[in-house]
Symmetry: C4
Subunit: 280 residues, 4 copies
């Protein structure tokens, strides 16, 4: 494929990769609906009472698979460097979310299909890609990024506490009360520390219940820490962005380069900031 | 009904629609008690052990229905443009919360009554209307409004995580451990991520329990995000309102225009800010 | 009892009511231990396996009751206006926490004792009184006070949501799935919204589980609100107290007036700020 | 052992006690992996399905025990004052985490081994020691320290509420509904207040469910308090550290004195700040 694009390629690129034009917006919304429909389809297939409608579900699945196939090839032929798209994260997701139905033609066993279903769900990440444009706050993303390292260290400490307390609970309660081994005890400890509390395993001895109370009060106290971190970081992000009001603001649009797929170009930009390719 | 109101209409309008005069306050409190009594009545009717007192409950329900009917017509005759009230949100709620008992005269089946009970509960929104006057902080409302969009995007992301993890749990645990289909697995995943943890479904396999632990620790980490957002936005609202102290503050009272029902007039206002109608 | 106190009365008053002298501190610590011991005793009495040690528990209970009796009369004879102490909140608590064992002499039935046990626990409030001196942050108390009104309005709104959603769940799930009446459904809804999730009642129908998911995500979103309020108010309190550093700080001690029991006198105060009675 | 160290001792000291050199870093990472492996081993030993592999697990345990033994003696011979290391906290942990396997040679009963397993887990604290270097935020640690006292007072108040409410629930629900004694009721109350909600015990009577609802709403309201405290303190720490940027910053490295084991020396320091011993 040559460096210069034909007019119809340019037009198609705009529709598929950008959300600025009415046609581009329509494409994204239709895609979102198809993805949601395919996810619901995967869910319904697993429900027992829908087994009698297997023919309808199969037909719908074929329609969606064909639509995804068309979309996949349209994406390939409208970019200058197709291999870049094919081996990008979203390229692989697109491929894996299209292929399962074709594979089922050759290896149509029940068990194989079940494993393939999980792959199909990766399509949902597409929606996440759209969610990015839907206006998730930059401050929020920054706050989460800034907190991530601290929360990781914190969760690591929680995990160690869970292992130690889990072992103690295993020794105290023993196998006869459901704490049949240390991994299961640690699992119970995480269930309790995070205040989920399924109740499938619960301490029965007075000493076990006393220790469980300590674990819960501990969990109650430490649940405050990650919340405090995010809350504080988010406040900082807000303050910083308020101070930044004096610096000139540049609006980035959702336009994406036909050559290198880089997005987030400034309004009025004529060349891609990444590869220098002209932006139509 | 003419544009000019008779004196008794003005008097009644003041009592029903405003909470500034002693009579108006008394009316609101009596109404609140009747609404609460009617809600408790709806609840008691569903309790088995109260079935023997069905005659008493029925009589009380008739008394409340008649009181609501009187109130409904009083509201209509005291405003200049009754159709505006009738088709307003609270007008429809008032109508729907009064009508069920009359309908039960003609279609008195058990099942129909059950469906009507739900409608009756809409009366409770009246109390919310009063709660507005009880002094819910403006800052709080603003903070929730400012956070709403961000929390929505966040909850959408949580939902996608729940769908993906739910499908994985369905494949890992399978039907024999209660994860009988993907929607049920997603339901379990939401139960776990939100730290509710009913325990009606719980992972039984070691791998399932390991994945559940990851889900819980993830839920523990992300519960911090919406809290951080609200907390930070609320702080901002507080700061802004502190800065606004220099601008002149105008007190709005709960007076409501007899012509267009617009409320929140300035103290000492002589004409409605919405339609120009004189305020008594 | 005359307005002037005898020296031994003054001495005893200092020990019992004040925590500044070594003797006063020792008295408070001993009292705290006795109260904790009595609470543990009440707990143990209810445990089946301790029923064989009933004689020991009874003896210990008599010792504690006699100690409380002595303390009660010592408090009465060391203040100038005993009736003021007797009818104060702590006076009544002291009386009620001492009397049960004496009553059991005359009406020694099992059921009567159970009801009296609850009264005994009011002794624990004594510890709270001490906790006040142990240094609970003033900022924290102020933040809770400032947030209380807003949190109340918020919890009221949560209650209304619980009633409406509870009724809908009752109609959807019905009696056969444990939602046997509306109050029970509302109870389930509160259990779910607060993320407690006992699991004694859990939705069984797909529609019920879908609605439950919405309730949980809603609860997940709104748990953020009270946290945000307290967190923000507490930050404000901290800021204000930092600004207040320029105003002169007066230290209040735990000394309490022998005449009117008013406490929190300034260091070096010679007369009670409440009744003008000399402070020894 | 003399005050002066031989060259190989200096070299070994650097590797074992410091994380600045490549060899030191490698040593720490290898140690971390061994500790994690030993913890996983302890867990697997408790799992029923691994009982047939007892020979392999036993061999692996012996390898790890010997590695720990070598490490323990290497630590002793490379410091100038071995007794200081032996009786330090980490010295005791090292000893206790190495000894169990040797003890099992003499008293190889099943029950004795179970008790020893708990001791082995103390090895995990080693990882915590490393976590310190991995970059846990100083602000976070300070915020937790600053909040600790207030959260303790708060949790103490929660405990008292749990005792009082637990006793009331015991009286209301009684033994037939699982609230078989007051300690168990208090345990249930803590489970509920912390929003864990196992569901092994759940109120059955309408009054009990009503009281439980109050407990849950209370818990919902007060979960906000510790979060608010940490969040606010953490914000303060961040602000203070921003202001402190003007004061000269000194970088502390992880180097540790060969004589007194004191760590946290300034970059470029030539003598131990604690004992004056030259730092290699």
């Amino acid at each position: 494929m040559s460096k210069t694009q034909k007019p119809w390629q340019k037009k198609l690129h705009e529709i598929i990769y950008e959300a600025d034009t009415p046609a581009g917006k329509l494409f994204d919304i239709v895609l979102l609906i198809i993805i949601l429909a395919s996810v619901i389809l995967v869910m319904l297939e697993s429900v027992k009472s829908f087994e009698k409608h297997v023919a309808i579900l199969d037909t719908l699945e074929w329609i969606i698979t064909i639509l995804f196939t068309i979309e996949y090839f349209a994406r390939i032929i409208t970019v200058n460097k197709p291999y870049k798209y094919i081996f990008s994260f979203y390229g692989i997701v697109d491929f894996l979310s299209t292929i399962p139905k074709y594979i089922s033609l050759f290896f149509g066993g029940i068990h194989a299909l079940a494993a393939l279903r999980a792959l199909r769900l990766l399509r949902v990440f597409r929606i996440l890609k759209l969610a990015r444009y839907l206006g998730a706050s930059k401050n929020l993303t920054n706050a989460i990024k800034a907190s991530r390292a601290k929360i990781s260290v914190f969760l690591f400490a929680v995990l160690i506490v869970a292992i130690i307390l889990g072992t103690i609970m295993y020794l105290v309660e023993g196998e006869e009360n459901g704490f049949s081994n240390i991994p299961k005890s640690v699992y119970w400890c995480i269930v309790t520390l995070t205040t989920v509390g399924f109740g499938d395993i619960a301490p029965q001895t007075p000493l076990g219940q006393f220790l469980a109370s300590l674990v819960m009060i501990l969990g109650y106290g430490i649940i405050a820490v990650p919340t405090g971190i995010v809350s504080s970081e988010y406040s900082n992000q807000n303050k910083n962005s308020n101070n930044d009001n004096k610096t000139p603001i540049v609006h980035l649009n959702s336009q994406s380069c036909a050559n290198c797929l880089a997005s987030k170009h400034q309004d009025g930009a004529k060349f891609c900031h990444n590869c220098g390719h002209p932006l139509h």
